[in-house]
Amino acid sequence: MVDKIKKWLELFAAQLHEKKTYLSELDSAIGDGDHGNNMARGADFLLKSLDQSGDTSAVFKNAAMALLSKVGGASGPLYGSALLALSKKAGETDDRSEWIAAGAEAIAHRGKSEAGDKTMLDVWLPVQKALADGTLTHEKIDAFVAETKSLKAKKGRASYLGDRSVGHIDPGAQSSGYLFHAFLEAGADHA
């Protein structure tokens, strides 16, 4: 199992690297323009420090600490908290929808955010639901990301833009989209 998890995180990191410029462009429109750089910095360190002990919880924990240490932006503690929650949950169950539920809950707790606030949570929550239903696909992930366009930001830097945040994809939702594409691609969505 742990190999799929490592594969997942490696694919995610590679994608963050490839889409660095695009993610920062999304953040320029409704934030401070650093989300791509933030995540790419975290991804580098995540790859370098990937746990090799063979323990899934340890892999998540190391990845969490890497993002926490290097990301710099709000997404650092948010992804960090989510991955810490996954690390804990992976020690209790193999049910992937429970893992993702724990991650989403950690994000909501850390960010004091909820569904519809136009954040990464608006990808995590519907992904979790689809996963529980056994209906998660790449197309659905893209749709969840795209749907953040129509939302008005209520949390994070974009919230000061009010109505002007509408019409733009949330950068953290987009990077979370990459996370879940990698999840499917690595086959990490089942034990």
Binding site: G31, D32, G33, D34, R157, Y160, L161, G162, R164
Partner: protein, 126 residues
């Protein structure tokens, strides 16, 4: 796309580094807003300088300037400048970093003045 804002932002602080740092923070979200800092005394000690503030105010091309300040004595110098300058200097009695950040982000987004003021209102602490 972005209409040149007619309002510039002035940051008045007792410490040079604070002024420079807040400017850097704001520039990340407000690249098209004119933002200037007048911070520290002329020999870069802790304090504010009427001359520095006055020069900064004069150098704006925007007809209106929103001024943010850290502590009360900066406000006294700002008041004095506003009594002597031709510029439209609007002193914002809101929390320094947080208030200036909100104003910069919203000016960049071409938000209406009303909506900016209503975001600033809960930050009024002075």
């Amino acid at each position: 796309m972005l209409i040149m804002p007619e309002i510039g932002i002035l940051l008045v602080s007792h410490v040079r580094e604070i002024g420079d740092g807040v400017l850097r923070l704001l520039k990340e979200v407000a690249g098209d807003v004119t933002i200037k800092a007048a911070a520290g005394t002329e020999d870069n000690g802790v304090g504010t300088s009427f001359d520095r503030i006055n020069e900064a105010v004069t150098s704006f091309e925007e007809p209106r300037i929103w001024a943010f300040y850290d502590l009360g004595s900066a406000k006294m110098n700002l008041d004095l400048v506003s009594e002597t300058t031709d510029k439209n200097l609007e002193i914002q009695d809101v929390s320094f970093v947080e208030g200036a950040y909100v104003a910069a982000a919203m000016l960049q987004a071409n938000a209406s003045e009303d909506s900016i003021h209503s975001e600033l209102k809960p930050l009024k602490i002075k």
